[in-house]
């Protein structure tokens, strides 16, 4: 189920891999150096190393999918972070070096990834590399300080140092993941970072707190702390799994039910899916944030749902060929349907206004361009403008992959930017479409 979703989200016009490669190589080089040094010096405190390695592997087995096709390994990350921040186990001052932290974390991650590979799931090396880099940074900063007499003497100093390093590691992970997403999905960095922090914040807080708890509690209760403080994180993870599960089912259901219009012969097969993909790509190009992007996707999928209320399908199904009144009627009916759900108010609004022209020249007397900007009420929401353009584009091009036809359609929309289509949206559409032609 997850893999399929992943495939669906990988559009042909996305150029991938350069950033991922860089990240993996960086982590790899660091790793080789660390393993070599650890091997030369020998493993310090092997019992503790094995316990933490096992926890990291366990966490990696229990990876978690978060909304928006993200993957995280909260327990593994917390375990590795705790190992990097460990000072004492019972009364024993731990001796391990930063290199050893990196080595143990890597081995744990690799062992934990094996079951995923065995059942044919992707290993997701880039995510692992990002986590490893964060752990490595924290370890290289903190390990030399762990034996320091001041840190040992003043627990307040140790506490604030460890807390800030945990926060730092989580932020760094958000930045790295955001960079990967920029590369993968052509999003803007600032937008991607804000989205990333918003999604990761709750779980990140739990991960950071658990890592600190493990590190501190090891002093009181020894290695039992690992099991004890992993438990709440396990509960958290179960709750998050159910949450992302229902989010995924939600999206699948709207996607599936949007196909109802196709099966009823109201629209061309694949129309809703294509419009929604194109709309989301345009939205990303324009820097729309993830929650709004999701609303845009829902609205785009359901933009033709109003046609179900028509007694007979419109011949050919292309809404662009119907009169403006009929289009407006379909949009209203569709919005009413969505309004029934009560929770999708803004989606209904987007669908309701999907046909409104960007600037209504007709409503202005003598329709001269000078009046236009002032006399017209607020333009429809950005999402409506995006759907309007994507819908018109798909009506003109359909499932055809001919770049010439696509270029002609973009040109036709561009000619209409004086009133019908939002110029910025059409330009974004043009960029998305031209990327797609390059790929073909």
């Amino acid at each position: 189920m997850t893999e399929r979703r992943h495939e669906l989200r990988r559009y042909p016009w996305q150029v991938r891999d350069s950033g991922q490669l860089l990240l993996v190589v960086a982590a790899g080089v660091w790793l080789v150096a660390a393993v070599a040094k650890t091997a030369a010096e020998g493993l310090k405190d092997p019992r503790i190393a094995i316990a933490f390695g096992a926890l990291i592997a366990f966490g990696e087995v229990l990876r978690l999918n978060l909304p928006g096709d993200r993957e995280s390994a909260p327990i593994g990350f917390a375990g590795a972070l705790a190992y990097a921040l460990l000072i004492k186990v019972s009364t024993h001052n731990v001796q391990h070096s930063a290199e050893q932290v990196v080595t143990v974390a890597t081995i744990g991650m690799i062992i934990g990834a094996l079951p995923h590979l065995a059942v044919g799931r992707p290993a997701r090396v880039s995510g692992m590399a990002a986590r490893l880099l964060c752990i490595a940074c924290v370890a290289y900063i903190f390990r030399p300080l762990a034996g320091n007499t001041y840190v040992d003497k003043y627990w307040g100093l140790a506490f604030s140092l460890m807390t800030s390093l945990a926060v730092f590691a989580l932020l760094l992970e958000a930045v790295l993941t955001a960079l990967l997403r920029v590369d993968e999905q052509r999003a803007r960095f600032r937008v991607a970072l804000v989205d990333e922090v918003r999604v990761q914040l709750p779980l990140g807080a739990a991960v950071g707190a658990s890592a600190l708890l493990i590190a501190f509690a090891a002093e009181v209760m020894g290695l039992a702390a690992l099991a004890v403080f992993t438990a709440p994180l396990l509960v958290t993870q179960v709750a998050f799994r159910r949450y992302s599960g229902i989010r995924a089912t939600y999206l699948q259901t709207v996607r599936a039910l949007a196909k109802v219009t196709e099966i009823g012969g109201y629209v061309e097969p694949g129309h809703s899916e294509r419009v929604s993909r194109l709309a989301v790509a345009i939205g990303r190009e324009l820097g729309v944030h993830e929650p709004q992007l999701l609303e845009l996707e829902y609205a785009a999928l359901m933009h033709d749902i109003g046609q179900l209320s028509l007694p007979e399908p419109i011949p050919g199904g292309a809404t662009v060929l119907v009169s403006r009144q009929d289009q407006q009627r379909i949009a209203e009916l569709g919005a009413d349907v969505i309004q029934q759900a009560q929770v999708l108010g803004s989606v209904a609004e987007i669908v309701r206004r999907q046909n409104e022209p960007y600037r209504d020249v007709d409503s202005v007397p003598n329709g001269s361009a000078a009046h236009v900007n002032h006399a017209v009420p607020a333009a429809p929401p950005l999402s409506s403008r995006i759907i309007k353009a994507a819908n018109a584009f798909d009506d003109l091009v359909g499932s055809s992959l001919d770049p010439g036809r696509a270029a002609a359609a973009v040109q036709q929309l561009r000619l209409d930017t004086a009133s019908e289509y939002d110029p910025a949206t059409v330009e974004a559409l043009s960029r998305v479409v031209s990327r797609r032609s390059v790929m073909l």
Binding site: R242, I246, G264, Q342
Partner: protein, 450 residues
């Protein structure tokens, strides 16, 4: 809560008085007030962020961790004061009497837990490394007493204030599933009370904060899940309705079939995920009907072979639509086979008897029943009793007798709300079907081919 019986009032009064007397008796000497205040604030915060479990009735919060920590750190009287801080939780809703009772209940159970801790040889105060593992025994006893007292007192009040008309077995039945889960989470929270107290020696006042963060996040995720699930249901409902608008006589059909299927499922002991899945299967069972051309659905008189084939295909079309949804496979099978008959003369595959998936056999009964009891263009709604007779008549040929019996039993106990007769508005775009493919009393007629 509404009006309470005299017994309920006496019960609540007794709990409040006992709790008050025990706390007021003291002793207050040697009580570390700074801990009491800090843990009290913690309880208030936890209570204010409690998750509502049932509308206006039960709620669930992590405050028991703080109360158990106070058992170790400040002893029984201190713990009771900390427990009483629940009264100050900022929360919308609960009735004043409910709030007073909750306060007394928490104070009383915390006090009893504190007594148990002392009786089992626990030492009040900051635990040190030497306290482990000796402290675990007394603490486990205290936690058990706390949970038991809490649930006991709560069950008592729920029992005495149960809505009239609910039989005793139902009240307990509904309560048991819920409180079993609550009990587990309470014991978990209680365990974190000890950890909180233990960590206090290392990080001081930060201990409870660190311990509570993961628990808060877990609860947040649970709440998010519940919210998403509600949104999801509303959306599926709205989309199903959109599908039904095409034929206005069948409006509400999906919803009612869903309800009927759940009634059968409950009656035969289906629970949890499966009962949930059959609800969605009921809602979505007819989405494939959109693939059938309107003129076929509307046609009066006999159908040609081709037209009949188009109708027979609708379960497959439905499956095509919902296949991508990550439902249980059983729900998908139910949608695909809901028009199979026990005697093997159904469609689309002509399965017979046990070959037909269980979900499909359940859906078939609810589907036919709703068709018969709602108004159609060619007849009025038939009374429930008549529809039951009809179900029994076809039981064993069209329907699975076990599910017909289960449905009848559920109907006789819970009743069936009469669907509102459809009102045709002048600008309604809906069309009117002249026959209903679900109606066993008026089966589709096909022109005999030669």
């Amino acid at each position: 809560m509404g009006r309470l019986s005299r017994v309920a009032l006496i019960y609540i009064g007794a709990v409040v008085v006992i709790a008050f007397v025990l706390v007021a008796r003291g002793p207050f000497t040697g009580l570390s007030w700074q801990y009491v205040v800090f843990l009290g604030i913690l309880v208030i915060v936890s209570e204010s962020r409690a998750t509502q479990l049932r509308q206006g009735q039960l709620s669930w919060s992590s405050s028991s961790a703080a109360m158990l920590a106070s058992v170790v750190l400040v002893g029984p009287v201190g713990a009771a004061i900390v427990g009483a801080c629940t009264a100050l939780g900022v929360r919308r809703g609960p009735h004043i009497l409910q709030r007073v009772f909750n306060t007394a209940m928490y104070a009383l159970s915390a006090y009893l837990a504190g007594r148990a801790f002392l009786a089992l040889g626990g030492q009040v105060g900051l635990p040190s490394q030497k306290s482990f593992p000796g402290i675990i025994g007394p603490f486990a006893g205290a936690a058990l007493i706390h949970v038991a007292a809490n649930h006991g007192l709560l069950s008592g009040v729920l029992w005495l204030t149960r809505p009239p008309g609910r039989t005793p077995s139902e009240t307990i039945g509904a309560g048991v599933g819920l409180s079993a889960r609550l009990l587990l989470s309470d014991i978990g929270y209680a365990a974190y009370g000890l950890l909180m107290a233990a960590l206090w020696t290392v990080v001081g006042f930060f201990a409870p904060l660190l311990v509570l963060i993961p628990l808060f996040v877990a609860r947040w995720a649970v709440a998010q899940f519940a919210e998403q699930q509600k949104a999801y249901e509303a959306t599926v409902g709205a989309l199903c309705q959109a599908v039904e608008t095409k034929d206005f006589y069948t409006r509400g059909h999906s919803d009612r079939v869903s309800r009927g299927s759940v009634m059968i499922a409950r009656e035969i002991g289906m629970r949890g995920e499966r009962a949930e899945a059959i609800r969605y299967a009921g809602m979505l069972h007819d989405v494939g009907k959109l693939g059938v051309p309107t003129r076929v659905l509307q046609k009066t008189g006999k159908l040609t072979e081709e037209e009949y084939a188009a109708i027979q295909l609708h379960p497959m079309r439905g499956l095509d639509i919902v296949r991508e949804i990550g439902f249980l496979d059983e729900a998908l099978a139910g949608i695909m086979h809901h028009h199979e008959r026990i005697d093997g003369r159904g469609y689309p595959m002509g399965l017979a008897g046990d070959e037909i998936p269980e979900f499909a056999r359940v859906l078939a009964v609810a589907d036919a029943f709703d068709s018969m009891t709602s108004t159609r263009s060619y007849r009025g709604a038939r009374p429930v009793s008549e529809a039951i007779e009809e179900l029994r008549k076809w039981s064993g040929t069209q329907f699975d007798p076990a599910f017909v019996d289960a449905f009848v039993a559920a109907l006789q106990r819970d009743g069936w709300p009469r669907p509102e007769p459809p009102v045709l508005e002048s600008d309604d775009l809906a069309t009117v079907a002249a026959q209903d493919h679900d109606d066993p009393g008026a089966p589709l007629r096909v022109i005999d081919s030669l």
